[in-house]
């Protein structure tokens, strides 16, 4: 395990592309958080830490796709340079390659969690959230769910990377999958007379709903109250989290199967 971690460190601690994407992720998280705080301020909403955590984690969650792209590029470039093949020739097992990429993915997910945590704490102190009476860690338990969410996007990216094996195609498919799933969800919902039950079980929908937007929940509840005849079922956070885990396991199993089954 330590050896695999050291290998990934040698490779990516000197990769310019890695630093570009990490920089982009950090910049976009900070910018999106600033945007959220600006809007809250504009509408005169005073956010305490207990509301700041879910709001900003939800906002930062929109940038998880960049973490997915980092891991995807790391895998597809191994195919491009044929280094994945060389590693097996030199003495790694295919299972080592798979574990190494998951270790890397978990490290990236942890980095995202730590970075978002630091940014929320800083944002809280700058905007005076500490003066609302809530402690800085009130609401921070969502960081665990956020970790699962990032890992979900990472697992999906790992699966697409092992499936498609080329960087450009991988990124395009990964990026297009997101709106495509929403489109398919809308279509199914339309066909089934506005029943949103099935689309909410789709992987991207599950991962993005792990951290549920407080505003969206309010809107859904209001819609349900206004039109009780319509089927508006919202999965609980706990169930979403469990299904998220199931998807992570499925993507990991699929990735491993692809790697093991195919020639390098």
């Amino acid at each position: 395990m330590k050896k695999l971690l050291r290998l990934e460190f040698i490779k990516y601690s000197r990769s310019t592309i890695f630093y570009i994407f990490i920089g982009l992720f950090m910049a976009l998280v900070v910018l999106s958080e600033i945007g959220s705080l600006y809007l809250a301020n504009k509408f005169g909403v005073k956010l305490g830490f207990s509301t700041l955590w879910p709001s900003l984690i939800n906002t930062a969650g929109q940038m998880n796709i960049f973490i997915g792209i980092i891991i995807m590029v790391s895998i597809t470039s191994e195919y491009q340079y044929r280094t994945i093949r060389q590693h097996v020739i030199d003495g790694l097992d295919k299972s080592d390659l798979f574990i190494a990429k998951y270790i890397y993915g978990i490290c990236l997910s942890l980095f995202a969690v730590v970075f978002v945590a630091i940014s929320v704490i800083i944002a809280g102190y700058i905007t005076g959230a500490s003066t609302t009476g809530s402690g800085p860690w009130d609401g921070s338990q969502l960081l665990g769910s956020y970790f699962v969410q990032v890992l979900g996007y990472v697992s999906m990216a790992i699966f697409f990377a092992f499936l498609l094996r080329t960087t450009a195609v991988g990124i395009i498919v990964y990026l297009f999958y997101m709106p495509l799933e929403s489109l398919l969800g809308s279509l199914i919902s339309y066909i089934s007379h506005n029943d949103t039950t099935i689309p909410q079980y789709f992987p991207k929908a599950i991962f993005s709903n792990i951290i549920q937007n407080p505003g969206v929940i309010k809107l859904a509840n209001a819609a349900k109250a206004a039109a009780p005849a319509k089927t508006i079922n919202i999965l609980s956070e706990q169930n979403t989290l469990i299904i998220g885990f199931v998807y992570i396991i499925l993507f990991a199993a699929g990735s491993y199967w692809l790697l093991k089954k195919r020639d390098l």
Binding site: K3, S15, R82, Q86, V88, I89, D90, D93, L264
Partner: protein, 298 residues
């Protein structure tokens, strides 16, 4: 009996309907230089790919060092398969650090192998700044890392200029002289003939020959001779017992001779008959002659 480094039994690989490697069996003994010879697309790299676990065989078994081929066995093998594979943005040193980490050998080994291939001065240069020859040499350095028990080189002189080819060939010879077991896959007959003790000839995935290089080329020696008086020379040669066939091209006679034929004996014989040779040469490409004959038959 000498130690068996590799034994492969009935290896089979299909790509769709194409049979790339068909029921291949062979062994490599310790200390031998084994040549895997065949034209492009004959199945050499596919065979090596299966033996090194990057391709899944459709049939057959193989053993490295008497054990089923796993990652522990591959760590004892140094390989350059289908060219060098490195990270373009990493330096030569860091690229080798990756393999040193995989093989669990100390980083001091990197200095030894980089010095051996003449790249120590360029250890901090990024791989992408290297010329084709330097990339190839780095690939060989990577293969030499950790003093492997077997060195596998697949087309090691591909893309090199004549000087580069000579350098790589000298390096292989040096390793072979030091008792290193080598598996060399190549379509360059001259390269194989110069260094290999044993040979497997492949064509379209089938094994056409397996055995010692000497046996393969035996009986295929050809001699070129010339003298001022060609008709007299031709007349005397017809009385020489070890010559099987004589062909003439302009002023040169080509002799197909028996395996026990010695050039100095012929020279002495002709001198005694009053014929002084103006040209005497042993054809260098006995392997080529035999290889072309074998592959055209199949």
């Amino acid at each position: 009996m000498s130690e068996i480094i590799l034994s492969a039994e009935g290896l089979l690989k299909r790509f769709g309907s194409l049979i790339a490697v068909n029921n291949l069996s062979f062994q490599i003994e310790k200390g031998s230089v084994f040549g895997l010879l065949g034209p492009n697309g004959s199945g050499k790299s596919t065979t090596l790919g299966m033996l090194l676990s990057v391709l899944n065989p459709d049939g057959g078994t193989f053993k490295w060092f008497g054990e089923n081929g796993g990652s522990d066995q591959r760590k004892k093998i140094g390989t350059m398969l289908e060219g060098p594979n490195f990270y373009s943005y990493l330096s030569a040193y860091n690229n080798l650090r990756i393999n040193a980490t995989i093989k669990e050998v100390p980083n001091s080994e990197i200095e030894r192998v980089l010095k051996k291939v003449g790249l120590w001065e360029r250890r901090n240069s990024r791989y992408r700044t290297f010329s084709t020859g330097m990339k190839q040499r780095l690939g060989i350095a990577n293969a030499l890392l950790g003093n492997p028990q077997l060195l596998i080189l697949d087309e090691p002189t591909n893309g090199l200029d004549p000087q580069g080819i000579a350098e790589v060939r000298d390096l292989i010879k040096e390793e072979a002289e030091n008792g290193q077991t080598i598996l060399l896959a190549s379509h360059l007959l001259d390269e194989v003939e110069k260094v290999c003790t044993h040979l497997a000839v492949l064509q379209k995935g089938n094994m056409l020959f397996l055995g010692e290089t000497e046996v393969f080329t035996k009986g295929k020696k050809r001699i070129e001779i010339s003298a001022q008086d060609i008709p007299s020379l031709m007349a005397e040669l017809k009385n020489y017992s070890q010559i099987e066939k004589i062909t003439q091209k302009e002023n040169i006679l080509f002799l197909q001779v028996q395996p026990e034929f010695e050039t100095q004996e012929l020279n002495k014989f002709l001198f005694q008959k009053g014929i002084i040779l103006s040209h005497l040469a042993i054809e260098k490409h006995a392997l080529e002659t035999q290889f072309l004959e074998l592959t055209s038959k199949s």
